[in-house]
């Protein structure tokens, strides 16, 4: 194992990832992300472009990592000025970062047409910039923009740029597939040429996902001699995003083709934190997590089919290429009309319902689940409703309260100012310990009004649900047209931070929503250990 070569991970979430449409990092966000990355074990954290905007400048006023090399991004110096007299370059060099990564043009077309300098002037810019960074005590890197397209048009010049950067003292020369249009075989072939211009462990790869090949291109580049991979958390980045480090790390650590040849800075514990880290990062940038993400997605180890499920129970390796726990994820056997009793048992165990395999009530429960799924209930996405259904079948859910009746009204009319307004009101009549409790509420829409009214006064159960919050509401219409049925999923949370989902199905959307709301409240009462109806508190 000592013979393994070191492979370096360079994270650019805070620089190239910040180019993502809809993403705007605050200073606090940047500090948090740098901490996440540092703990994960990446080798370089590129934090942004000091001088380009106040956030980045402030971010670089202090070092932000402990283990990882904190890196500032910048542009090579301008032609016609010395490095000392280029304020942009000086700003980057003065940042509190141990390394600087400068973007340089390496395609002759772009040098002449976009930059408007001669090919030699561009080489000089690269040389002087790297030298200035080294003189300032920095670890210097050059990002070769459009390297692969440039190489195809003029290989000698592209290679001259790489060679110049290395000769001037750049620790790394990074080959960028800037527009994401290069195929893996081309990447490998071109890297094999570039390695002659920068032998040893000095080449990096920076891939974009415009053809869904950023991960493959990064791996192909490593196979051909590259020793630094640039990427981002969850593949954030301009257009379709950058190479996804969250996908690459498990492959590098778990697949023998890579793990036997290379060592990376991420430990087994870091790897096991990956699923949580990926979701925490999505929370931070306020994006829904990709359920289908390799390794870390909620569905990455989920199985629906009955035959596959029983095979997995026999031997997980059958349908799992790695162990879910290794990346901090977990196996899910989905209860669905395709699954059988083995799915049901596994799912019960997971939602914490212990039951004997031979319990005769299991057959009835399975039949009930299938019947309800045929009606449109979907328990694979609503584990709290599934847990309630199962516990009820096994006699473990007490009665808490019942709802005698409800009424919801939505009215659009002109208000006193002549403006068109829509108001929603709900009235709920619940029974607790034989006593009627009537509540009324307004809401943004009918479901919101109903929710507010339902949770307004449940008598002595009220304290148990005080910290219950709805966090998401989803509607799906099944079988379009006249026989349409509505399925509603409600996501809730509470003070513990537990998140649970409940389901309701009805031809009437209000009815369906109400079922899911009542299930959520009941789940919370059960969880909080509320006493049964008629029992003392």
């Amino acid at each position: 194992m000592n013979a393994r070569e070191r492979l370096y991970l360079f994270d650019t979430t805070l620089r190239d990832g910040a180019q993502t449409a809809g993403v705007d990092f605050t200073l606090q966000d940047k500090i948090m992300v740098a901490r996440l990355l540092d703990r994960l074990g990446v080798d370089y954290v590129e934090g942004g472009f000091p001088g380009a905007n106040p956030t980045d400048t402030e971010f670089f006023s202090a070092p932000r990592t402990e283990r990882a090399v904190f890196t500032a991004f910048g542009m090579t110096k301008r032609t016609g000025r010395s490095a000392e007299n280029d304020p942009g370059l000086q700003g980057v060099l003065q940042a509190k970062a141990a390394a600087c990564c400068f973007v340089a043009k390496t395609s002759d077309f772009h040098v002449v047409h976009a930059l408007g300098v001669t090919l030699d002037q561009n080489l000089e810019q690269i040389r002087d910039t790297v030298r200035a960074a080294v003189a300032a005590g920095k670890e210097a890197m050059i990002d070769c923009e459009h390297f692969f397209d440039g190489f195809k048009a003029n290989p000698a010049y592209a290679l001259a740029c790489v060679h110049t950067a290395r000769e001037a003292g750049a620790r790394w020369v990074v080959l960028c597939d800037t527009n994401g249009g290069t195929l893996p075989d081309e990447v490998a072939a071109i890297v094999r040429e570039a390695i002659h211009a920068a032998p040893g462990d000095h080449l990096g790869i920076h891939a974009h996902d415009d053809m869904g090949l950023a991960v493959a291109n990064s791996l192909a580049a490593v196979g051909a001699g590259v020793r630094q991979i640039q990427g981002t958390l969850n593949g954030l980045g301009e257009r379709c995003g950058n190479a996804n480090l969250v996908t690459l790390i498990p492959t590098l650590k778990l697949k023998p083709d890579f793990a036997e040849r290379f060592e990376i800075g991420v430990s087994d514990e870091g790897l096991a934190s990956l699923s949580q880290l990926s979701r925490a990062f999505d929370e931070l940038v306020n994006r829904p997590s990709n359920r289908y993400a390799p390794y870390v997605g909620a569905n990455a180890f989920a199985t629906k089919a009955g035959i596959h499920a029983s095979a997995i129970l026999k031997d997980p390796r059958t349908y799992e290429h790695v162990a879910p726990e290794s990346v901090g994820n977990r196996r899910r056997l989905l209860v669905s009309d395709q699954g059988g009793k083995s799915n049901l048992l596994a799912e019960l165990a997971r939602v914490g319902v212990e039951v004997d395999k031979a319990d005769p009530r299991l057959d009835l429960l399975l039949a009930t689940v299938k019947e309800r799924e045929a009606l449109g209930y979907s328990y694979e996405g609503a584990e709290a409703s599934f847990a309630l259904l199962a516990k009820r079948a096994l006699g473990r859910v007490p009665d808490f309260f019942s709802v005698e009746s409800f009424r919801v009204m939505v009215e659009r009319r002109h208000n006193a100012f002549g403006e068109r307004v829509t108001v929603s009101e709900a009235v709920v009549k619940a029974m607790v310990d034989g006593e009627p409790l009537m509540t009324a509420a307004e809401g943004i829409g009918p479901v919101n009004a109903l929710d507010v009214a339902l949770r307004k006064d449940l008598g002595r159960y009220q304290p148990y649900i005080a910290d219950l919050k709805l966090t998401d509401y989803k509607v799906r219409i099944l079988n379009g047209g006249t026989e349409a049925v509505t399925r509603v999923l409600v996501e809730s949370t509470d003070g513990d931070g537990e998140v649970w989902t409940t389901v309701g199905v009805s031809p009437n959307i209000i009815d369906a929503s109400f079922q899911a709301l009542v299930d959520s409240v009941t789940y919370k009462l059960l969880k909080a250990g509320a006493p049964a109806e008629g029992q003392p508190s």
Copy 2:
């Protein structure tokens, strides 16, 4: 160009894609998807597993494609029975499909441990199944489950399975990376071995995305000799999904490495429909579209402020590896949308609105569209609402009627028999030619009641909307949580068979639904040439 080899696309959205957690195709869904795929130009449409469930059995009661080969999925016959006496196999052979694709085990470990038969018995199952399919006049295919893992453990046996299938007359032998754990280099190396067991154009690839490499593995397999690619729309499929055909098709058609060597069944027009098709499919399965999807995502050609944007304006090829129009997508420059107006003109032409390029009202319309899209309106999926918006801006939509007020009530209570019932009622007050028209109706749910009431009596406009029918209703909650906004899409049709979709957006689902309903009625009145308010009929 005549020397190009034919590459075949096999779509398994309706079979392997149906294994996706949260996806449940109805019969109507399946019919619609088959039609989309047929029009796109894929070569095979695998529709499901006849006999496995009532939906699939019904789906295979009739041929569902015109150009593509309609394919039934099944399992190889069981050991100890003849093909004639295997009801599962017979069910597949009797399906109204021109081709059958049978899954077979080709890994010695799985044959012995999961299947519990001898290696020879498994070969016999493959042979007899293929022969029975060929005898029944079917185009026969074998899906080699776990082929790559099987090959690594026992190459001779894995190849024997391939050879046996081919010798028995299988048109295609498909190599499956069932658990998605094989790397591109391994795929290429193993395909190069397998091609000896099945020379010519008889090998297929079936890749899963568990390492984010399904697209790369499919391309690597083609490079090594495979001539059929299996995949799904938008990469739907078990766990992390299957190879994404929507990503693969543009790469195969636009990248010279593939386009110069291979020909596929998708035309340039099919390619240009891809972005719309991808989004329409997401609507159908009610998933939010992936903004970052290669080629077709809303962000795939989006560039944020700065140096890149101005470079793109100078020469789009700088940061675009293909032209967005080639895949039916468009360029988005997030700060100054220069392409906006020409896009708008193109979309207007598409919905049949002719207008002079220099018409000053176009700027206002563009601003309105952008503003409304920021609120959550999505005109890509609601062309009728877009046409109305445009024609209104251009002064071409007369006033027909207005709605003064409406009221919807949903009540759950006990009826005279003590049964729990939920009733929905709506009252609508419309104005036609200055006269109030008040209607009331009951419905299955609040939206249905509102729709019935609205269309019950529109005075002299009533004859024009007599043949209007709602055919679908979709709800999507945007930005989950407290700031949630509801987007409703209503699909309508009439006696002509024209189908149109309208959109409504509001924090209140009833309001959003009502907007979409009113747009649908207005669209129909315009289409039917109804006179303007106050004008004689």
